[in-house]
């Protein structure tokens, strides 16, 4: 599954790198890419291992609010 989130509270390019560390912390993420320019986070993951809510919660703990934009 591929999901695009709009991200709030991104202040600089480093925020993108911080968000991308979710790949190291959550199971089942196959690809992750954040963009400060677009204020977006794209996550591809295995539905059997991870839920959308878990991603949102993990991002919130890092100080970022995710809003669902699109999913494929």
């Amino acid at each position: 599954m591929k999901i695009i989130f709009n991200v709030k509270n991104m202040h600089c390019g480093n925020c993108a790198m911080i968000l991308e560390t979710l790949e190291d912390e959550l199971p089942g993420i196959t690809r992750i890419s954040a963009s400060y320019h677009k204020q977006q986070l794209v996550v591809e993951f295995e539905e059997s291992q991870l839920t959308v809510d878990a991603i949102i919660q993990a991002a919130r703990q890092k100080g970022y609010d995710l809003v669902l934009n699109n999913q494929y």
Binding site: C12, G13, T21, D24, Y36, H37
Partner: protein, 343 residues
Amino acid sequence: MITIFTAFITGLTAGGLSCLAVQGGLVASSMASQVEQNIKQGVKGKANLTHPLLLFLFAKLVMHTILGFLLGWLGTILQLTPLSRAILQFAIGIFMIGNALRMLNVHPIFRYFAFEPPAFIRRYIRKRSKNSDQWVTPLVLGAMTVLIPCGITQSMMTLAVAAGNPLFGAALMFAFILGTSPVFFLVAYFTTQLGAKLEKGFSTFVAILLIALGLFSIYTGTNLIALPSPSGIGSTSNNTNLTLNPFTKSEPVQNGATLTLNVENHGYRPNHLVAPANQIITLNLITQNTVSCSRAFVIPALNQQILLPKTGTEVMQIPPQNSGTVMRFSCSMGMYTGDITFN
């Protein structure tokens, strides 16, 4: 020939402030993201600005050492023309102002002024370093300083070329940049530490600083291409297509006026000259223990530049100019300026 130790002393005494004047905006940019991150994480008190500043200086040192190696190896002068340097100054100015407007959240479009490394590089960095410190931006900006050398740095670059030896060129640039680092660090560090006490207001402070430096960069750019500027509206030469080589060490011509310009560490004296129109002018450029960037003398309207000796006299001939022409001159970065009025 200048020794490596002399290069270090030159950097320590004059190079630091000279470079800081030109590259201060990049330093401020390199620390801005750290300040933003501290604010976001609710860190109170002073921000840790030592880390990004040291990274900035490290990248600067490495890049200039590599540059010194290449200059010594190539043995050719990579001197930018006044026009290309002016374009670079404009670009830097726009970058600084754009970044300031991004920090002030003026419009989302200004986010594109922030560096965002490609995804594969971010991934590589993340895999190599688990901590998420702000180190990419200072490194990139520190490396970028190689693109905007101050006059003294350019002098060293010329010496590195003249050395014709890659290792000597690298050692020369390394020693010089190492010498500039203490002054660079102290001034930048204490300036920003004072600002950090203002916490969130510091973002605004840095943004305003960036705007001021950006405007200054654009202003110096206008000095290099002889565009009208606040100090000389409509002052460009209208007689620049003569083939006479304005720079020569030959004896002054007999049928023209002679002007004398003292090139000093803090600018040109006098910085307003008057010359008769419609005749060749001989300009004597006199240096006396001059070590600042004023030695890199430029007349943009003639598209000519020259690196003056530390002490000595260079003779330059200016083609006949129409009455009313105001010909501007400056150092190679457009910081020190002056003009010649023909009437």
